[in-house]
């Protein structure tokens, strides 16, 4: 079942399926390690509601929900 990373809540884990979008933003996300098959963990949401913080490949990455909407993930059964 595929959904976007934006829909995930803090504490949820998922595996990246695909990064949509194009150009510099997409390249940036991919460069930071958001590629097919990588496991991501949603750490938290910023106090004002945006951006979100995820843990992947052993480090913490933040980006906006609008960018998260472009990342398709598959949820793991916990």
């Amino acid at each position: 079942m595929s959904k976007s990373l934006r829909e995930l809540k803090p504490g949820e884990k998922a595996v990246v399926v695909k990064v949509c979008g194009e150009g510099a933003v997409k390249r940036r996300l991919v460069d930071m390690g958001i590629t097919k098959g990588v496991e991501v963990f949603v750490r938290k949401v910023a106090p004002l509601g945006d951006p979100i913080e995820i843990n992947l490949r052993g480090y913490e990455l933040t980006f906006r929900k609008s960018e998260a909407a472009n990342i398709l993930v598959e949820c793991e059964a916990e």
């Binding site: 194009e22 390249r27 930071m32 590629t35 004002l48 480090y59 990455l61 933040t62 960018e67």
Partner: protein, 681 residues
């Protein structure tokens, strides 16, 4: 034999610390041509021979999308360093090795400095360094730059690599990429890239990959023939169809898969991936939903307390006495001996030492601010600030990264503007620099206190507070306005790492602080010197170049009289106010001192007398309008010089200053006229 090393690595990988360890005081900071990115070069200090090392900007990748990446790759391709020292943060090894895979394709010998091994051990993780070296086919030197360990070894490894031959990039390509992809890479390398005028044989594989990715930078440089371009498009389409993705992502996928394959067999983590590290635990408080924002303001308040409170003012007082008393006396003595003319004496003692002195007196406090700024940056706290405030700052057309700079602006615009260097997006940086001075700096406070005391004695606090709020409101409105006009365009994406909290060494903090100070003195020094001298001369001479006692008869007085009418609609159209505002360019506190001089109540430090004088010229309404103007108009010459340096162009500097002063006038005008209409006098 002169060697050149290039230092490449991710941001926050400890690159600067390593660079400092290797070069020590031999380093010097400049600018990469054409861009406002710092260029750091130095000599390997412990060696006799001339071995230079260049610190390239911290980058995550070699894409054509950001200035830092372009600067880094252009340097490697054009300047052809002998060895690349690739610093890899061992606590973040996958993402760091991703860059390594790209660097290796450039055909230059690479040695890997595996940094932060102490942190790895502290976490209980294990890395098989020897195996890693075998898998990567590169020398890998474990080290801990902050502890000074491994630095000698990495330099030795680099020297060795300079003598040897780099691995064949064809082997690298075969190892990293799928067979199908590698096949096309070789095809492009043979048929197209190898012939191209732009690059040599040694990096034809890298060029081939970039061409397949349709990299704009490389395409421009290589300048292919039409049928070559067609072949490229054909190959690209085949691969994109087969892998159901765009070429850049396909390549990146392959690289990360290769990296993960290696780390899988060489890195053993003690705890599962998202296990809470110490940093994460700290962040539970720092980016906590309820505590985060109060905490940031609290920290800033503490910093300002220390800087401007008892400690700061004590130091300032001592330095002030040193300059006004001892130093001035000493110079006066020298001048007397030299027998220089009176006006030259006055220029040097009053104009230059006086004017420049007012800035020098502030330097200890400036250094304290630089120190705290470095502390905020190097610990990783700034990144948290950006994360927490991003949503709010987006309303101003900025991103969270502008938060700390603007918050700093409440103390002083100089370090605030300097700290905008962390903003990679040019437009964002410019807009932040324009808006930051609206955050009322500490130097403007004496003006508010003077006027609030004289006209709103019962509501002083409230009035001063309202001025600060006015500054923020104007910043927000300006942001919206400018973002829709001059700085129109896509908002830069906000994809930012939260590096683990690190305790910077005192040494690196001092180096950081000292660099900023040097920067400031070099740049602001000349501007401040010139401005102080010029303004002093304008207020001491009349048009026949005779010295005058009464500034009212000087050139500046005449200029003041000339422009005073402009301020009439804003409520303060008298020449003394105009002159005071002009001297505010030297230092904002000068507005008060000049007013004192011009109204004949100077020197006593007696605010009551000045208050009386002001009440005969201003009304409460016009006083408030004057305060608003002081809040918003152009900053002092020190800030002006810093802004010029950071913006890198006179055009933008004058735009900034013009916009601020224009806004100041409009605000004062609206306040005064609206107040009149409302019958507030």
């Amino acid at each position: 034999m002169s060697l050149k090393f290039a230092l490449v690595g991710n941001p926050n990988s400890g690159k600067t610390t390593l660079f400092n360890e290797i070069t020590g005081s031999t380093q010097y900071v400049g600018n990469w041509p054409g861009v406002t990115i710092e260029k750091k070069e130095g000599r390997v200090k412990r060696l006799q021979e001339d071995v230079r090392i260049v610190d390239l900007p911290g980058i995550y990748s070699l894409s054509p999308y950001s200035m830092e990446e372009i600067v880094a790759r252009d340097f490697i391709l054009d300047e052809k360093p002998d060895v690349i020292i690739n610093i890899v943060d061992a606590t973040n090894i996958e993402r760091n090795l991703y860059l390594t895979t790209q660097v290796v394709e450039l055909g230059i010998p690479v040695v890997v400095a595996l940094n932060m091994m102490d942190a790895v051990e502290a976490r209980g993780d294990r890395i098989d360094v020897r195996k890693l070296s075998v898998e990567l086919k590169l020398p890998v030197i474990p080290m801990s730059a902050s502890k000074g360990q491994g630095v000698t070894e990495i330099v030795d490894a680099a020297l060795e690599a300079a003598d040897g031959t780099p691995g064949k990039s064809e082997d690298v390509v075969s190892a990293v990429y799928d067979e199908a992809i590698a096949g096309y890479i070789f095809r492009v390398a043979d048929e197209i890239a190898g012939n191209s005028a732009g690059y040599g044989r040694q990096n034809s594989c890298w060029t081939a990959i970039k061409l397949l990715e349709a990299d704009t930078g490389v395409l421009k440089k290589v300048n292919l023939a039409e049928d070559d371009l067609q072949k490229l498009t054909e190959y690209r389409n085949i691969l994109e169809k087969e892998y159901d993705n765009d070429m850049e992502t396909i390549i990146a996928d392959n690289r990360y898969r290769y990296v993960t394959g290696i780390t899988g067999i060489t890195v053993r983590k003690k705890a599962p991936g998202h296990h809470l590290t110490v940093s994460d635990k700290i962040d539970r408080v720092v980016t906590n939903r309820l505590l985060a924002i109060p905490l940031f303001f609290g920290v800033m308040l503490l910093i300002f307390r220390i800087t401007f409170g008892t400690v700061g003012s004590l130091i300032t007082g001592k330095v002030g006495n040193l300059i006004k008393g001892t130093f001035t006396g000493w110079v006066a003595g020298l001048l007397k001996e030299a027998g220089t003319s009176d006006w030259l004496n006055a220029l040097i003692l009053n104009g230059i030492i006086g004017g420049v002195g007012s800035v020098v007196v502030f330097i200890p406090q400036l250094m304290i601010l630089f120190f705290f700024l470095s502390l905020l940056e190097d610990t990783g706290y700034m990144a948290r600030g950006a994360f927490v405030m991003d949503r709010f700052l987006r309303k101003l057309g900025l991103s969270g990264k502008s938060f700390i700079p603007m918050l700093m602006g409440f103390g002083c615009s100089v370090p605030a503007v300097m700290s905008t260097r962390t903003l990679e997006n040019e437009k964002d940086r410019r807009l932040t620099i324009i808006l930051t001075p609206f955050m009322s700096c500490s130097a403007r406070l004496p003006v508010y206190l003077m006027f609030a005391g004289a006209f709103f004695s019962r509501n002083q606090d409230l009035v001063v507070f309202s001025i600060y709020i006015l500054g923020i409101v104007v910043a927000v409105l300006s942001g919206i306005l400018l973002k829709n006009t001059v700085f129109k365009g896509q908002t830069a994406p906000f994809v930012m790492e939260l590096p683990p909290y690190r305790l910077p060494t005192l040494k690196s903090l001092m180096i950081h602080m000292w660099e900023r100070l040097k920067d400031f003195l070099k740049r602001a020094g000349t501007v401040i010197f010139a401005a102080a001298a010029i303004i002093w001369m304008l207020q001491s001479f009349n048009f026949s170049f005779h010295m005058v006692e009464d500034p009212g008869q000087s050139i500046l007085g005449a200029v003041g009289g000339l422009i005073a009418p402009i301020f009439k609609p804003a409520g303060f159209g008298d020449w003394k106010s105009a002159v005071a505002l002009i001297t505010g360019f030297v230092a904002k506190e000068s507005v008060v001192s000049t007013m004192g001089i011009l109204h004949g109540v100077a020197g006593s430090g007696d605010n009551a007398a000045l208050g009386v004088a002001l009440r005969s010229v201003f009304t409460p309404l016009s006083a408030y309008a004057f305060m608003a103007f002081t809040l918003l108009y152009l900053p002092c010459m020190a800030a002006f010089a810093t802004i010029r340096k950071e913006l890198g162009s006179w055009k933008w500097t004058f735009f900034t200053v013009g916009y601020q002063t224009g806004t100041a006038w409009i605000a004062a005008f609206i306040i005064y006229q609206a107040g009149r209409l409302a019958g507030l006098g």
